[in-house]
């Protein structure tokens, strides 16, 4: 019995029991459903073993949407608790757990997979490639992320969630102040997901550098691909820092080392520094692909080429360099002294300059354009003003002297939500709507889509603008309640209403997916938006081999050139196509990683060693296996092309 006690929740409540039941029922329902409809074979063959970048992209997408829901429920709970003064809906411990998991889920298990989903689906198509450079590794990236997310999420019902904030500062996150296993979940689940992300980074850099269609020089790449390239470079350089920080944190918690403790020479500020050396680049990892999406969407629906292509690229390169030079702005108040703070203030403000250049480029693109206000365009138009407010308040926070007033207040919370939501979430929703027809062969309903966009934009403003005021009035972040006398009640009630509006917006998106799946026409052709880049030159949905003939490119808008300038994209005839074969190993190996992570979290050493051996067995299997893929014959290509409504090119 004693053995099982460690899995108990340290601080149970009816909500947790309810979610245990809910999780149990969902699992049973999924298993029963798959068995009843005899879909196990289908799921295994077509999804769990796939190495196709499009399917992996779609799986990332589904996971991201699920995690958006999970993080959203956390958010609603927090806003409900704070809606009125002296509320007792949640107690301090639960509130701590919820803001912690909200932050981690949203950044690492929602935003990251969302951008990786779109990168996976879009980048190989935009550069005219058959797949990514290492398809098998790509599957491994996904499954590592997926099992890490599952591992993190079971913390809620097994052993307890982390509660030291998404930043997990030591000594708070050490054993003394966070005795239950929650923070172990943090250290290990993020570690596993991070491994997957690092592999994605390497994979996409090689893909973009080596697999572009003939004629596509670097400066003729579509802007989203450029943003993906730079993002992945940041990933490769930033994530190892997190790897080490997490490893040291894990050792402090599990093996009694003194990296971040306050005795025996440990240094808690080392964690803060390492975390933000990764953490600030991480926010640019999220925002740059979003900028890429806006560039595509704005130029498509302004019906003209992107203004300032070169300066767009240059500003992204500068942002990627600067993103490593500003991390101290997250703890101006933690004792560096005026000189160091001033340096980081300057770098922080400097980073707003290339960001500003991008905003002006979008505005100039719009200026002489013939604007078509589709849903993705609507998101882009809502993004510009709201993001600018978030960015300007960022510059305010970047002034170290003033930051003593803003730091750790709701003002900061308002800042980062007003950059991340319009920056990342709007962009992902714009990208989702924009590329949806390419993924699934039908469009999402525009009317419902626009309603959702407006609700989400209005909800964002109503939820987060009041925090600027209550923050300046002194409302601290991460406090689970406040008294009536503070006068914060009104502003928090407004935020609560805003959160409600946001939630309705997201529900509408889900409804839109349902509605459009049922009613939308499938007869949309390859290029429903009248777009400009290569991904629209092949069928919707995209055949397994992407392009029957490798396209030849002469500019960053190859399809537009074909449509308007008589450029010929597809020359030559069908050739046999080589494809990578499926494999179940990434799935199995990641599942073993899940067991390994679980064993580490609960210090079950024998299980940890056994699963580690299992991981090695998978690696050895991979090394010795000989796999040359398979070929799609010319006849099969002809059949597929005919079935999809005629050959392209």
């Amino acid at each position: 019995m004693e053995f099982f006690e460690r899995f108990a929740i340290p601080h149970p409540s009816p909500a947790i029991y309810a979610s245990m039941v809910a999780i149990g029922l969902t699992v049973i329902a999924i298993i029963a459903g798959l068995t009843y409809f005899k879909k196990w074979g289908y799921i295994w063959r077509e999804w769990l073993t796939t190495v196709d970048h499009k399917r992996i992209g779609i799986m990332y997408l589904i996971s991201a949407l699920l995690m958006l829901f999970r993080g959203g429920v956390d958010a609603i709970m927090m806003r409900s608790q704070l809606a009125v003064p002296g509320n007792t809906l949640l107690d301090a411990q639960h509130y701590n757990e919820i803001f912690t998991t909200h932050g981690i889920v949203m950044i690492l298990f929602m935003a990251m997979p969302f951008i990786i989903a779109l990168m996976n689906f879009v980048v190989p198509l935009q550069i005219g490639a058959r797949d990514v450079a290492f398809p098998r590794l790509n599957a491994l990236s996904f499954w590592l992320f997926f099992f890490a997310a599952m591992l993190f999420n079971i913390s809620f019902v097994v052993g307890g969630s982390p509660d030291a904030g998404w930043t997990s500062y030591f000594p708070l996150a050490g054993n003394e102040h966070s005795p239950h296993v929650g923070t172990n979940y943090y250290m290990i689940a993020i570690q596993i997901a991070g491994l997957g992300t690092l592999m994605t980074g390497i994979n996409f850099i090689v893909t973009i550098l080596k697999m572009r269609a003939p004629g596509m020089t670097l400066m003729k790449m579509p802007m989203f691909t450029w943003s993906a390239l730079i993002t992945n470079v940041i990933i490769v350089f930033a994530f190892p820092v997190l790897t080490i920080a997490l490893a040291m944190g894990t050792m402090d918690r599990l093996f009694g080392t003194h990296f971040f403790s306050i005795d025996n020479g440990g240094m808690d500020m080392l964690w803060a520094n390492l975390f933000w050396v990764w953490g600030h680049p991480e926010v640019y990892i999220l925002i740059l692909p979003a900028f890429g999406i806006y560039s595509e969407v704005i130029s498509t629906f302004a019906r003209r080429n992107l203004y300032g292509y070169k300066s767009m690229v240059a500003s992204m390169v500068i942002i990627s360099l600067f993103s490593f030079l500003v991390w101290v702005h997250h703890f101006f108040t933690m004792g560096q002294g005026a000189f160091v703070n001033s340096i980081f203030s300057v770098t922080t403000m400097a980073i707003a300059v290339p960001t500003g250049i991008k905003i002006f480029n979008w505005l100039f693109t719009l200026w002489k354009g013939k604007i078509v206000m589709t849903t993705p365009m609507l998101y882009s138009m809502l993004f510009i003003p709201i993001f600018t407010i978030g960015g300007v308040t960022g510059v305010m926070l970047g002034m170290s002297a003033a930051d003593y007033q803003y730091h750790n207040t709701m003002f900061l919370v308002a800042h980062f939500h007003l950059v991340i939501i319009p920056g990342v979430v709007f962009a992902m929703l714009a990208g989702l709507t924009y590329w949806w027809p390419k993924m699934f062969g039908f469009m999402l309903n525009e009317r419902i889509g626009k309603w959702a966009a407006w609700l989400i934009a209005v909800g964002t403003c109503v939820a987060f603008f009041p925090m600027f005021i209550s923050g300046l009035d002194g409302q601290a972040r991460r406090m689970y309640t406040y008294s009536e006398a503070t006068g914060f009640g009104f502003w928090n009630m407004l935020s609560f209403i805003g959160a409600g509006i946001l939630a309705i917006g997201f529900v509408l998106i889900v409804y839109n997916i349902y509605y459009s799946t049922r009613y939308a026409t499938r007869d949309i052709g390859a290029d429903p938006w009248d777009a400009r880049t290569l991904e629209w030159a092949t069928h919707s949905p995209v055949p397994e081999y992407n392009f029957a003939i490798t396209p030849e490119v002469n500019s960053s808008e190859a399809l537009w050139d074909e449509k308007k300038k008589g450029h010929k994209l597809f020359k030559g005839s069908y050739q046999e196509i080589h494809m990578p074969s499926k494999s179940g190993v990434p799935f199995i190996m990641s599942a073993i990683f899940f067991v390994f992570g679980f064993a580490m979290i609960f210090s079950l050493w024998i299980l940890a060693i056994v699963s580690l051996l299992g991981i090695f067995a998978c690696l050895i299997h991979r090394s010795f296996e000989q796999d040359h893929g398979y070929h799609i014959s010319v006849k099969e290509i002809e059949e597929t092309e005919a079935k999809m409504g005629g050959a392209k090119g």
Partner: protein
């Protein structure tokens, strides 16, 4: 599979070239990984709590032996790749084998070194300094261990399949990895041991 014969065999196919580029990028990530460890080491170097400092515990003899073994192994893996380019499988396997034996010897001395540290009172839990020292060395040592297993796998594959586009590609990538571990060791030698002994 199209093989380009104007290139050495390990660069012979598009996939091979991508594998090598991918590995270079991976080494970039590894530089960040070890860079973070070194930065942490420099931060925590003097935070010895009530435990011993580097000058108290470092012993020059095992360190010199380790350095000699690892540097020589970097040379022999270079010879192995040279033999591979000449298509001389037997010579290549010999040099490859010597490399792994030297690696194993390195590892044994390092394990001795670890026992020594624990013995003189610098265990993992002693102080921030001892923890980062053992973690940095341990991370390098774990890389070497992994390399030994990986190298063994490659030797077996060459024995079975000969020098093909795949096995040469793997061997070449392994050699990059091995040289990299050598470079990291040079940093460890200079900035941890020599600096600590001074």
């Amino acid at each position: 599979m199209k093989i380009d014969h104007s290139q050495p065999l390990e660069y012979g196919t598009e996939q091979n070239k991508m594998n090598i580029l991918g590995f270079w990028i991976f080494l970039g990530a590894e530089i960040m990984l070890f860079g973070t460890l070194f930065a942490s080491y420099f931060t925590l170097e003097n935070r010895i709590g009530s435990g011993p400092s580097g000058a108290d515990i470092f012993e020059i003899t095992p360190i010199i032996i380790e350095t000699f073994l690892l540097l020589t192994s970097s040379f022999t893996i270079g010879l192995a790749i040279h033999a591979m380019r000449l298509g001389r499988q037997k010579a290549m396997l010999t040099f490859f084998g010597i490399t792994l034996v030297l690696g194993l010897a390195f590892l044994s001395v390092e394990i001795y070194e670890f026992f020594h540290y624990v013995h003189v009172g610098a265990g993992l839990q002693t102080s921030a300094f001892s923890a980062i020292l053992l973690t940095t060395l341990g991370t390098h040592g774990a890389h070497v261990t992994f390399g030994l297993l990986w190298g063994l796998g490659i030797i077996l594959q060459i024995k079975k399949r000969g020098l093909t586009v795949e096995t040469t590609n793997k061997s070449f990538i392994f050699s990059l990895y091995w040289h990299f571990l050598d470079v990291v060791w040079i940093f460890i030698f200079s900035f941890i041991y020599l600096k600590g002994l001074m």
